[in-house]
């Protein structure tokens, strides 16, 4: 039996709401290794793209093929819209494992490990919904890791975070990227430069460029150049 080739491929994706096209014939081949950062101005379709890749939104046409290690990946997804159950920090982290039927001991071990690793131990009995916005976003990031994903899709995971929390997340991503494919939306060009192996740049529902970080930063594309210069569109 031949092993299926790893790929993250979007082909001819169309998505519209009330006859307004958000994506028209969108295609891209995203690297299956390292960190892919999605950049672009507001409304360019970055979040929509991550939702389609995660499978939360079904495109009207087109094909989405994702294989990592020859299999459909175990995907962790962090949305911009952060919601927690009406439970404490511990039980919010335990939930993704509980519904997969893991036993209590294993859940305890994993949750405590993550709380320790990310310096959140001691807050496990606090209501997750009563945390500060920054802590909520940080906890939400931790929650995406509970089920040990091998594909991590993050939609602006550090938009509300201070330097310390951002550093912890970035360190984790850099440390784990050998075993973890990351697709991450950001508005922070510096963060993209720090983390990216590959950059996907979007504007008005189109993928303008997808290339290795070095090539992207040297891009001849006018829109990319303007974006890199920080000038307004």
């Amino acid at each position: 039996m031949t092993k299926t080739k790893d790929l993250i491929n979007l082909k001819g994706i169309n998505y519209s709401v009330n006859n307004k096209f958000f994506f028209k014939d969108l295609s891209a081949n995203i690297s299956t290794n390292g960190i892919t950062m999605i950049l672009g101005p507001n409304g360019s379709g970055k979040s929509l793209l991550t939702k389609i890749i995660k499978g939360l939104i079904k495109p009207h046409n087109g094909q989405l093929s994702i294989r990592l290690n020859g299999k459909i990946p175990n995907t962790g997804y962090l949305s911009q819209n952060i919601t927690f159950l009406r439970r404490d920090v511990f039980n919010n982290l335990a939930y993704p494992m509980e519904i997969k039927g893991y036993d209590k001991e294993l859940i305890n071990k994993r949750v405590i490990f993550l709380l320790k690793y990310f310096g959140f131990l001691g807050k496990e009995k606090i209501s997750a919904r009563k945390l500060s916005e920054g802590n909520k976003q940080y906890l939400s990031f931790i929650r995406t890791l509970v089920n040990r994903p091998n594909l991590l899709i993050l939609d602006e995971p550090s938009s509300n975070l201070d330097m310390e929390f951002t550093k912890r997340i970035e360190r984790y991503l850099i440390k784990e990227k050998q075993n973890l494919k990351v697709i991450m939306v950001t508005h922070d060009l510096f963060q993209a430069k720090r983390l990216a192996d590959e950059i996907l740049f979007m504007n008005e529902g189109k993928i303008i460029e997808i290339s290795k970080k070095y090539n992207f930063l040297q891009s001849k594309n006018k829109l990319v150049q303007k974006f890199l210069e920080g000038s307004l569109f």
């Binding site: 939360l56 919601t83 159950l85 404490d88 519904i99 919904r129």
Partner: protein, 231 residues
């Protein structure tokens, strides 16, 4: 004042007839409440969590049923379960069983409608968590019901209050038979018409005490839930 003191005497003398009536009332109402909850919560869970054809019609139906006059429920059940009726073979007319059925029909719409609204709000909020972690429908309903448990208990207790104070339906289907189907509300109606005001008043006092107790429990639960709320 004479009526009041006589009725208090009746209560504190632990009159066996009086307590038999109170006990039957509580039994019928609690059983109806348990059945309505067992039937109503899954219906509310599905209505609040799933989109399907006819869902709005079902919600409108249950909302409309909340305003159904109990006397009419009694009349319908009487027609259905009388000897010549299509369900007459059950032979439960003028028994406590049909009183439970009548109360279920009266309480169920309250439990379904209020719970659907309550669970719907939480479900909408949790939807992205459920989609993200690929939670199946049964687990979605379980999670939502669990997280809404305190508010749901409040809603269920409202149903109990409605059941205990109901008179129109059970007097028709129960027949107000002494030592068998006579409950607090039907006894109050009967004893008042007979002029036995102390018996009627004592049951009225018991009803008020129960009603105040239910409301106090609701209030305490709301306070506790606020204090220990994860919201």
């Amino acid at each position: 004042m004479g009526v009041l003191s006589d009725s208090l005497k009746l209560i504190f003398s632990f009159d066996s007839d009086l307590y038999e009536i109170i006990w039957l009332s509580l039994r019928v109402s609690f059983l109806a409440l348990i059945l309505s909850t067992i039937i109503g919560l899954p219906i509310a869970g599905i209505l609040s969590s799933k989109s399907f054809y006819g869902k709005k019609t079902i919600i409108i139906f249950f909302n409309a049923m909340m305003a159904l006059p109990p006397v009419f429920v009694g009349l319908l059940l009487y027609i259905l379960f009388s000897q010549t009726g299509p369900l007459g073979f059950f032979n439960i007319l003028y028994t406590p069983s049909i009183m439970v059925v009548a109360q279920v029909i009266i309480i169920l719409p309250i439990i379904v409608s209020v719970s659907t609204e309550l669970l719907g709000q939480i479900f909408d909020e949790y939807n992205e968590i459920f989609d993200t972690f690929e939670v199946d429908l049964v687990s979605r309903i379980k999670t939502t019901v669990f997280d809404a448990r305190i508010s749901l208990i409040t809603c269920i207790l409202t149903g109990l209050g409605r059941a205990l104070s109901e008179v129109g339906a059970i007097i028709i289907v129960g027949g107000n038979i002494i030592h068998y189907t006579r409950v607090m509300t039907t006894t109050i109606a009967l004893e008042t018409s007979k002029g036995n005001l102390s018996m009627a008043m004592s049951l009225g006092i018991v009803l008020i005490v129960i009603s105040i107790s239910i409301n106090a429990i609701v209030m305490v639960m709301k306070t506790i839930s606020k204090k220990y709320s994860y919201d």
